[in-house]
Symmetry: C2
Subunit: 188 residues, 2 copies
DNA sequence: ACCGTCATGTAATCGGTTACATGATTCT
DNA sequence: AGAATCATGTAACCGATTACATGACGGT
């Protein structure tokens, strides 16, 4: 069988790049190097607003990418044995290729609130809860845009602009649902 | 220890309801009964627009819900041994409870195109590809609203309206990116 | 020195995706 | 009736979530 040859454990060259991979590659590429914990903070401060990752992934994924030769792994000798990662030339090339493919993929909304609405949940309470959440998020984004927006590179700034647009859409949508559902029966 | 008693394999009462569970429960509840294949068609014709499921899930998930006692499973005696599912009273109760909790959960965009934008992809080609995709989706939704919209129950119609709103937002966003990126260098 | 909390990391589980497999149907 | 295509179903794999575990650190 073809898989039977003895590989002297060279970097396995063919990994699928998931969005998680891209985030890890992209952030390490921007910062030069990072430990998983630093990655966690970097995600929270950057793409985390529209694509967050559980911290456990930030230990598993770099390890996977290192096995594939896209990252270089350096283990600290001290007590914690922290691992520091850097992007290899192979990794840069892979990231570059991924960035160069303009995707026409459509992303589904996959919003649990919408699911509740679809299957007949009571619209008043649902819409009010959603409205609160989205108003808060919108305020947060607008504050972000006001404070750090001007200093952001074009990509991140556009992403933030997009987030604001969608939050405005959500606020408007749920507002209409609230209006059509009538006022909170707890009132008056 | 408390878990040590001998259960005579009764329906395991505590399943987490994932969105997948809810879609399966909800659709079977609306149609009365369904086989996995019918579920596949039902999803495509309903929630599939904003929350699709790979067909393999529509075999695995009903089985799981049946084990938990939320669905009743009936096996056809013929050659295919098709399985037909119905919602049990326990299942209806579980669905009802889920629908009654108004969630304030915020859903991330998680759009691969935005990810590319964020990490510095060439904006022109990306934005044009995205624009095409979203224009097509928007046209599809608007056509749906025109044709079947008036006959839809409130929940599904609102969900569709929401989808249209978000697609308009995407179209506007990527249009701006196209404009700011300048015209296609492939042009004269 | 102890306790609570946060930082950091690993392990186990589970849902979801991908790939494969077989039965039905249609067309020629 | 044979081939191609679609319907229907199962199995294996893998990424992601959850839960657990330990190390550091600040306060009292």
């Amino acid at each position: 069988m073809a898989t039977n040859q003895a590989d002297p454990a060279p970097p396995h060259p063919d990994v699928r790049l998931t969005p998680t991979s891209v985030i890890v590659l992209g952030l390490i590429s921007m910062t030069g190097q990072a430990t998983p914990y630093e990655l966690k903070q970097a995600v929270a401060a950057s793409v985390g607003n529209f694509w967050s990752l559980p911290h456990a992934q930030l230990y598993a994924e770099p390890a996977r990418l290192a096995r594939a030769g896209l990252l270089d792994e350096q283990v600290e000798s001290g007590g914690r044995r922290r691992k520091t990662y850097r992007v290899t030339p192979v990794g840069h090339a892979a990231l570059g290729r991924w960035l160069a493919e303009p995707t026409g993929t459509y992303t589904e909304l996959r919003d649990p609130g919408l699911l509740k609405l679809y299957f007949g949940a009571d619209r008043g309470p649902l819409a009010r809860a959603q409205l609160d959440a989205h108003r808060a998020k919108l305020a947060e984004y607008e504050e972000l845009m006001r404070s750090v927006g001007p200093t952001l590179p074009p990509g991140p700034r556009l992403a933030l602009r997009s987030g604001i647009g969608h939050e405005r859409e959500w606020v408007q949508f749920w507002s209409e649902v609230v209006r059509e559902a009538g006022p909170d029966p707890g009132d008056g």
